[in-house]
Symmetry: C2
Subunit: 215 residues, 2 copies
């Protein structure tokens, strides 16, 4: 069974732990505070109270046998950096570390973190984009010329068919799928009508997608 | 010019502020700590030091004239809840509030937050999924039967053409686009070859996409 060590059981670390358990991984959850470890001890494979900046403690905890570890320590930048270094020195193949500033990320990169995550920043960007485009639920930016967006049907669009809205001609976007409740239509046609409450997947340039609020 | 008030200049709030400024909004940045406000005072439209749980202070700051506000206060759950309530009472049309636990979110919902965001949790889930699928960069889940994933080309796939890999026949997924450096191929054909370093967009069921590591 595949296993992952997650060090630092703040909100980010807990998010990782819960999803990994849900996916079916064995999880070793580590934190220096007993309180945090007690929060998870009943829902994870193993939980240990230890200071992850202590290399011997990590080795004793069996970290040499882990291929993947997540460093969820945030605000304590020094501990985040030291822990990342210790894990690489112990030989953990893939260390995913969280950074809370750009410089924090640069340092983690230099000391060997295999992947760096900026959680608050990424979501801050999504929230800002959703403000700029209230019907935008989620998106993937694939280069700067192609985005895939999950959007909700606006009041303007509700009750109109795809051909009526002329999304391809007017906006140069492609509707990939439409979802109504639990039903997904993966091959939307020109006569399909958008109903209030529907969500849809659309592809196009970021600019064209943002124009859809004028549909 | 469209304007947004962002209250609470922690890492999440700062992420929202920076992206909103980048998009072109006017931003009023508010925090009770002078230190946080000073961090942004040179890069935002307006910055104010005030306690957002104080309704009069919010009114004096002009919040009645804002249609949109983001409550980026996290750990201080009481302040997050009070601030959200104050903003709705003042008449701010759209209040987007951050929650740090499920119950926090439930309370925010009951007192009128128009949208609730769980930043650390959302990214925690993405990190966990990326661990389960190391070539996965980003994804949108559209219902439980359709996902769009941004992936990097695995060692197995590198040097092989789409027809060679038989992605549609074997895995029932559709490659939407392939990116190589700054070039994007939005109409990939059967003879297109995946090269090391390429990333691609693919659609299919979550299960089929996760099978791609066996391609
Ligand atoms: N040296 C260490 N060894 C083990 N755990 C640590 C160490 N330093 C910090 N932690 C733990 O990491 C967890 C997350 O901590 P921290 O306060 O650094 O980040 P945070 O940014 O507030 O986290 P989040 O936003 O995810 O809640 C805490 O539970 C803390 O006890
Ligand atoms: N009543 C208040 N009025 C204005 N600002 C506040 C109030 N309460 C908290 N803040 C500010 O909100 C910001 C974010 O605070 P908080 O400590 O609650 O969250 P956090 O979870 O640590 O944030 P992040 O993870 O985004 O860094 C802080 O800068 C804090 O000064």
């Amino acid at each position: 069974m595949e296993k992952v060590a997650v060090i630092g059981l703040g909100r980010f670390g807990i998010g990782v732990v819960q999803e990994l358990m849900q996916i079916g991984y064995d999880v070793l959850a580590i934190d220096k505070k007993e309180l945090m470890v007690n929060e998870v001890v009943d829902s994870v494979t193993h939980a240990l109270i230890l200071d992850s900046t202590n290399k011997d403690a990590l080795i004793q905890a069996g970290l040499k046998t882990f291929q993947t570890a997540v460093v969820g320590i945030g605000e304590n930048v020094e501990a985040s950096i030291l822990t990342t270094l210790m894990l690489k020195e112990i030989g953990v193949e893939k260390v995913i570390s969280r950074a809370i500033t750009n410089y924090h990320g640069i340092i983690l990169d230099k000391i060997g973190a295999d992947k760096i995550v900026y959680p608050e920043n990424e979501i801050g960007i999504k929230v800002a984009r959703a403000i700029a485009n209230p019907d935008l639920i989620d998106f993937i930016e694939f280069g700067d010329r192609l985005s895939i967006a999950e959007m909700q049907v606006s009041d303007n669009m509700a009750g109109k068919s795809l051909s009526e809205l002329q999304l391809r001609n007017k906006f140069n976007v492609n509707v990939i799928a439409i979802k109504r409740g639990a039903q997904t239509n993966g091959t939307p046609g020109p006569d399909d009508v958008f109903e209030r409450g529907d969500t849809f997947l659309v592809s196009g340039t970021p600019k064209n997608i943002s124009q859809l609020k004028n549909a």
